[in-house]
């Protein structure tokens, strides 16, 4: 079973040389720490930056330079700044190759819910609805089951949707799964030491698994 960093590390393997990538808040942010050496990747922050760098050294924080999670950051050589309309313009026109974000629930048709729990304080969707509606390539980083032990990979979402039929790949603490165009989760890889049966039990939606599902490999 993977921890958050393990999930981030596995997702990082999906990043190809030359990709522009948008990382959501939470586990997706950790992915930046595991981008393979020698790979040129540009991180977009949807408030209006391409070429996001690491956190600043202490004392070098700049209040005018933050990411979409409102964290102080730095820029890398070759970065560019733009307004929020152009930022979502490039998201809608699919110039961003890969979007990685968290989810509360994903359905076996690729619907995603990650912004609202009825009856609880609603903070807002931020840029999530724009991202899931536009991105050509989305990976969800999430826990396979919630704290109550219930599956978050469902036949259909119970929470208000963020987007419909948009998720194609999911990485959890247990597995890597593809969402099949005709519906259903296809088990691609198991976390080290986790059995197909265990994953099947943790998956409420339809799960398809070949006889021989490989364990995840890390770099």
């Amino acid at each position: 079973m993977l921890d958050k960093n393990g999930i981030a590390k596995r997702i990082a393997k999906e990043i190809k040389d030359g990709y522009y990538v948008n990382l959501g808040i939470g586990i997706p942010t950790l992915v930046a720490n595991y981008i393979p050496e020698g790979i040129n990747v540009v991180l977009q922050s949807e408030n209006g930056l391409l070429g996001m760098g690491p956190f600043p050294f202490e004392g070098e924080e700049d209040a005018d330079l933050i990411n979409a999670g409102k964290q102080t950051i730095t820029t890398l050589p070759g970065s560019s700044i733009f307004d929020s309309a152009l930022s979502f313009g490039m998201i809608r026109s699919q110039k961003i190759d890969l979007t990685i974000l968290g989810a509360m629930e994903v359905s076996e048709y690729g619907d995603i819910a990650n912004w609202k729990i009825p009856g609880k304080m609603v903070k807002g969707m931020g840029g999530a609805m724009d991202l899931v509606a536009s991105a050509k390539n989305i990976i969800v980083a999430m826990q396979h089951v919630n704290k109550a032990g219930e599956s978050k990979l469902l036949p259909s979402c119970t929470l208000p949707l963020t987007g419909v039929k948009c998720i194609k790949k999911i990485v959890t603490e247990l597995a890597v799964l593809d969402v099949l165009p005709e519906g259903g989760f296809k088990l691609i890889e198991r976390a080290p030491g986790v059995s197909v049966d265990y994953i099947r039990q943790a998956t409420a939606g339809k799960l398809y698994a070949d006889d021989d599902v490989p364990e995840m490999a890390f770099g």
Binding site: S45, E46, N47, G48, L49, P54, F55, P56, F57, E58, G59, E60, E61, D62, A63, D64, L65, I66, N67, G69, K70, Q71, T72, I73, T75, I81, F82, D83, S84, A85, S87, F88, G89, I91, R92, D111, M121, V122, K123, G124, M125, G126, G127, A128, M129, D130, A133, S134, P160, L161, T162, G163, V164, K165
Partner: protein, 233 residues
């Protein structure tokens, strides 16, 4: 050139009235019109509809206006980080319309570009789409979203000139340029106000034609919401 300079935030916002609709630039606490917000709090104008990506924190930014119960309605994409906001929302004192961040930015831009409506796929199939026209282009569904109308847009720039031209610094640009284009009256506060002719015309982010009033702000706090750092090895 046409001189747009006013004496300060009090004069700039003096004709903002109860019940009007304001756009406020900024993302989180970054690039917010601090001086104008403070002047609005002092003036005590109320019943406002505020279009702003966020609602500040309890004791800074739009949060200060919330504490004074000056805001009737917020139109935002994300409103966390604010206990007073939450209290007013749950008690029904405050109305909130949450819309996707890109939709918010593009509806501002649409106003500035004289486009009455735009199409975006954001929110199709979700509760955001309720009551909205859905239209299919090339096999993909889009929502039709209307341009915003705002009585005033309040924006914060780094440098500005007496002709109203604005230059923003780093990611404090965010929503400021699109809101600057969208106000019936646009008020710009800047950290440094210079004479017309001091700025390179190629560097200007917001042409002065969109700005009606400009002043050099004072005492910028520029608070950091999430201070994240790394340590030197």
């Amino acid at each position: 050139m046409i001189n747009k300079v006013v004496s300060g935030p009090e004069e700039a916002i003096s004709d903002i009235e109860n019940g009007q609709t304001l756009m406020l630039g900024g993302f989180g606490l970054c690039g917010i019109p601090e001086n104008c917000i403070n002047a609005l709090v002092k003036k005590g104008v109320s019943g406002l509809t505020c279009i702003s990506n966020n609602a500040g924190v309890d004791d800074f930014g739009i949060g200060l206006m919330l504490q004074q119960r000056q805001v009737k309605k917020m139109i935002s994409s994300y409103v966390g980080e604010n206990a007073e906001f939450e209290r007013q929302l749950l008690s029904g004192e405050l109305e909130v319309e949450l819309i996707p961040q890109g939709t918010l930015a593009t509806r501002c831009m649409a106003a500035g570009y004289g486009m009455p409506a735009i199409f975006t796929p954001a929110g199709v199939g979700t509760e955001v789409a309720e009551g909205k026209e859905v239209r299919n282009f090339n096999g993909k569904d889009y929502l039709m979203e209307y341009a915003f109308e705002a009585d005033f847009a309040l924006v914060k720039a780094w440098k500005g000139d007496t002709a109203g031209n604005l230059i923003f610094r780093s990611t404090s640009r965010n929503f400021n340029p699109v809101m600057a284009m969208a106000g019936k009256v646009t008020i710009a506060e800047v950290e440094e106000l210079v004479e017309a002719g001091s700025l390179d015309p190629d560097h200007i982010h917001t042409p002065g034609v969109f700005v009606h009033r400009i002043f050099q702000g004072k005492g910028y706090e520029k608070r950091i919401e999430q201070r994240t750092v790394r340590t030197r090895n």
